[in-house]
């Protein structure tokens, strides 16, 4: 089957790839490019572990074809911290204990970033609702929500 040339930007780096159309964006990021921070928890759009930001919007990358990402700008969890500083949301997840096994964490952090960029003054209820596409089985969400709330505050004050 014909492979397709795909050119996409991931966390400021541009990749020119040749991929099978049946490969999802998630598989492209993890297997072809080798960025394994984005996780696969269900492959059916339900768990949010595979969340990445495509052209400013958080999406489940298991529900998008790699070929559909052609020409797009993608941010993954690997792209959030700078060389010497974590993103405020990453820092807050550490300070508040917002993770345990950590498998859901990249998805939560990326989804939170996209949402706080859109709604910096979000209330707790709004955050709980907006993060409903992400499942965490370990934390019971209490500390995740605390982390996102405190990151939002830190970002507002920055």
């Amino acid at each position: 089957m014909k492979k397709h040339p795909v050119s996409l930007t991931v966390n400021t780096d541009t990749y020119d790839l040749l991929i099978e159309p049946r490969k999802t964006l998630l598989a492209t990021l993890r297997d072809t490019i080798g960025l394994t921070g984005t996780k696969e928890g269900c492959s059916t759009g339900d768990c949010g572990a595979c969340t990445v930001i495509v052209d400013g919007k958080a999406v489940t990358s298991c529900m998008m074809l790699g070929v559909s990402a052609n020409g797009k700008e993608i941010t993954t969890v690997e792209g959030l911290a700078s060389r010497d500083q974590l993103h405020p949301i990453q820092q807050a997840f550490i300070d508040k204990g917002g993770y345990q096994c950590g498998f859901c964490t990249p998805g939560f952090i990326v989804a939170s970033k996209a949402y706080l960029d859109e709604n910096p003054n979000a209330t707790e209820a709004e955050i709980r609702h907006a993060l409903g596409n992400n499942i965490c089985r370990c934390t019971g969400y209490t500390k995740i929500i605390e982390a996102v709330m405190s990151a939002a505050e830190a970002m507002r004050n920055a």
């Binding site: 339900d46 993770y99 498998f103 209490t142 500390k143």
Partner: protein, 765 residues
């Protein structure tokens, strides 16, 4: 606990950076050059004979490198079904190919011919004489027959006198007991103390009910995965995301007949386990077999759907329960009979049925339990295995009694609770326990006495108990030439246990937390460590860490005594140095200097060793109070408040402890309200997150955790296992809250909206 410098502090976890940046390597992140991908061919029927397996079409597909079936398992141990499949989704063959999509395509091309057999999915149907049978040799007597048979056997063995009349009489009695031979039985357990018949006779109120608890999946977020690489020498390396690398090593060895020193299990970071990630045959053994056959590394990653059809979830069960009390609220007797749905393999959590005794006095107790085969995948542990189920039954029934007798449900429980030194029904004496303190703490946290509620709102309280397990472990602590320390061990960190271990070592060695680092070895390099399940790690490895740090301390003191020309007895560790306790002039030497000195002299590197087997562990209680609101028309339940207290002995890292309490409570909430693996005659019908619902952040309020610290005499610094207790009360907490809100008693979980509405219409279960 202000006496400690590092213990009891909310320090950030040792793995913080890698977890928030995506750098942590989980099983699925392992990628080896030339790696192949494995996929399973799975049964399409819950019960069927396999007539033929045709792999010819699949073999022709470009990219396919190997196809294996049970014929390839030389040891003969069951890895694949070969004669008969016992559940929908049971593996029959596996394919390795150059790409996962090709492997999937090949698996779809393998043709299996079946002769479909009748299947049984329900425990109460499975025990009937006309039920389809999974295995042979599976009949057992029920409790009443068993009581007579036991006497019969005794009489028959006794040759000292003639019992023929009594024997005939008893045999006649046996004839009259109907429906008491159970079929499809995988296991049984029985315990008793006192005389329940007498207890019920003395009771003013006897309540009887049947409780049905569904099978639920642990739903760790990372599906099972393994990468196996078998070298031409036969040496097996397996990258495994598992709770117990040493258990996986011995499991592979036992299943495939490979010596332990030819197997190295490299544990990766693990995406949750909750008891469900000890399995050997699910992916590890098939990956090894495929790698043996192809000579290439092979990765097998289960899909979420496969997790539901072929994972090893928590067993559902049916519990018949009877409790007798005096009008003043004194509990006298309890009798329980439980049927656990083992699925196709023996191994359900049936031993936990004894926890029907809760932490109450029960002068008279009788508990009988049976594991029952059904056409479902086998089961495994899930957070306090078996206990949430029995606590649901026990604590729901107590709540009913409190309502009937018009007693405050907290006071009623406190009145009957055991305290330190009390006899445990069918068990030893209670060690030092804090049951009452724990229940009181959560009641105080919500101001129970002054609670208020609006229309359709209600409060529920329940408790659950668990005693952490214990197992062997080993550990090394090294001191570097700059005075910093490193821990080396082989136990798996799920909940932040590495952080707790670093805290313990830092505390004993008087080092700042940041100066202690920790690393995990594989099974080739690290000393043995028991699996991370049963809340063992803090207790076991914490004790091990204490021993290793104390050994290091001893060595540091000896070296310092040499260098400072001072008796060991007059030296102490302080701020990363060894100093004289009193002394004029004070003398002191840094750890770094001692390490360098030891390297350059005969001592060699400073390495402290800890080796630990077991010590008595102490029971811990979790207690919860929820406030809910019911929409009486739609049946939807909203949690308004959830408070959860737990006796943790000593909270080494309060942030991690709270995380465990919050997470376990929410898992319990989910079991109560939404989670349920559903089956029809064809097998599991909800193998995905669309219809197997787990809660999201939008479903819940903040969980308020309340830490209670009643020191465990043998725990490290008094700590108890923390992971398991918090899930145990919640099923009943939620059910009791619903009853308080709208007056219905739901005895069959989960409390989906339809069930709530039906109960409000008077057709409740």
């Amino acid at each position: 606990m202000s006496e400690y410098a590092v213990l009891g502090k909310r320090v950030p976890r040792v793995d913080a950076l890698e977890k928030v940046t995506g750098a942590a390597q989980y099983g699925g992140d392992v990628h080896l050059p030339g790696m192949l991908h494995g996929k399973f061919v799975r049964s399409k029927h819950p019960h069927a004979k396999i007539l033929n397996i045709d792999t010819s079409e699949a073999e022709k597909l470009p990219g396919v490198r190997a196809i294996i079936t049970q014929d390839d398992v030389e040891s003969g141990r069951r890895v694949f079904a070969s004669d008969k499949v016992l559940y929908l989704g049971e593996p029959i063959a596996a394919v390795a190919a150059t790409d996962p999509d090709i492997a999937e395509e090949a698996a779809d091309l393998i043709q299996i011919d079946y002769e479909v057999l009748p299947a049984v999915q329900d425990v109460m149907e499975a025990i009937q004489p006309d039920a389809p049978r999974l295995h042979s040799d599976d009949t057992k007597d029920g409790p009443a027959r068993r009581a007579i048979s036991t006497v019969l056997r005794k009489l028959e063995r006794d040759n000292s006198q003639d019992h023929s009349a009594e024997i005939a009489e008893l045999n006649a009695q046996l004839e009259t007991i109907e429906g008491e031979v159970y079929y499809n039985i995988s296991a049984e357990t029985h315990s008793a103390s006192g005389d329940v018949e007498q207890g019920f006779a003395e009771s003013d109120l006897v309540v009887e009910d049947t409780y049905v608890i569904p099978r639920v999946h642990q739903t760790y977020m990372e599906p099972h995965v393994s990468v196996a690489d078998v070298e031409s020498t036969g040496k097996v390396t397996v990258w495994a995301s598992t709770q117990g690398p040493f258990a996986i090593r011995s499991g592979i060895a036992g299943t495939l007949g490979i010596p332990l020193n030819q197997i190295n299990v490299i544990p990766t970071t693990m995406g949750g386990g909750f008891g469900g990630r000890f399995g050997v045959v699910l992916t590890h053994v098939p990956a090894v077999l495929l790698s043996q056959k192809t000579g290439r590394p092979v990765k097998i990653q289960m899909t979420r759907e496969e997790e539901f059809t072929d994972g090893r979830p928590a067993p559902g069960c049916v519990i018949k329960l009877k409790t007798g009390v005096k009008n003043d609220g004194t509990i006298l007797a309890r009798e329980g009979l439980a049927f656990w749905d083992s699925g196709s393999i023996s191994g359900a959590s049936i031993g936990s049925t004894i926890r029907l005794r809760g932490v109450y006095k029960f002068p008279h107790l009788k508990v009988d339990a049976y594991g029952v085969y059904t056409n479902k995948s086998g089961t495994a542990a899930y957070r306090a295995p078996g206990t949430p189920q029995v606590a649901f039954a026990g604590e729901s029934q107590l709540d009913e009694i409190a309502r009937k007798l018009n007693l405050d449900p907290v006071e009623f429980r406190l009145k009957n609770m055991r305290v330190t030194g009390d006899p445990v029904p069918a068990g030893p004496k209670e060690p030092k326990v804090g049951y009452k303190e724990t229940l009181q703490a959560v009641a105080d946290a919500v101001d129970w006495k002054n609670r208020t509620k609006g229309p359709n709102q209600g409060w529920g309280v329940a408790i659950g108990d668990w005693t952490n397990g214990c197992g062997p472990g080993g550990m090394f602590v090294s001191i570097h030439e700059d005075g910093s320390a490193r821990i080396f061990h082989g136990s798996i960190d799920i909940t932040g246990t590495d952080t707790a271990l670093a805290q313990i070592v830092a505390e004993i060695l008087t080092l700042p937390y940041e100066d202690v680092t920790i690393s995990r070895g594989d099974t080739d390099s690290a000393p043995y460590a028991t699996g991370s399940g049963g809340s063992v790690v803090t207790f076991t490895m914490g004790n091990t860490a204490k021993l290793a740090a104390e050994d290091t301390q001893r060595r540091l003191l000896e070296l310092a005594s040499e260098r400072l020309n001072t008796e060991v007895e007059s030296l102490e560790l302080k701020d990363g140095r060894v100093s004289t306790i009193v002394g004029d002039p004070p003398k002191s030497i840094g750890f770094g200097e001692l390490a360098a000195y030891s390297l350059s002299t005969t001592g060699g590197p400073i390495v402290g060793k800890g080796s630990f087997a077991r010590k008595p562990s102490t029971p811990a209680l979790a207690a919860q109070i929820a406030k809910v609101e019911i929409d009486p028309e739609t049946g939807r339940i909203k949690v308004l408040k959830m408070a959860s207290s737990q006796d943790v002995g000593f909270a080494i890292n309060p942030m991690a402890v709270e995380g465990q309490i919050e997470g376990g409570t929410v898992q319990g909430y989910a079991w109560a309200t939404m989670e349920e693996m559903q089956y029809d005659k064809k097998g599991n019908v909800n193998p995905g997150f669309v219809d197997y619902r787990v809660p999201t952040s939008a479903d819940l309020p903040t969980v308020e955790s309340v830490i209670v610290e009643v020191e465990a005499p043998d725990g490290p610094f008094g700590a108890k296992g923390v992971g398991e207790p918090p899930i145990t009360p919640t099923l009943a907490t939620m059910a009791n809250a619903v009853t308080d809100a709208v007056g219905i008693r739901i005895t069959e979980l989960p409390m989906k909206p339809e069930k709530v509405v039906a109960a409000l219409h008077g057709n409740g279960k």
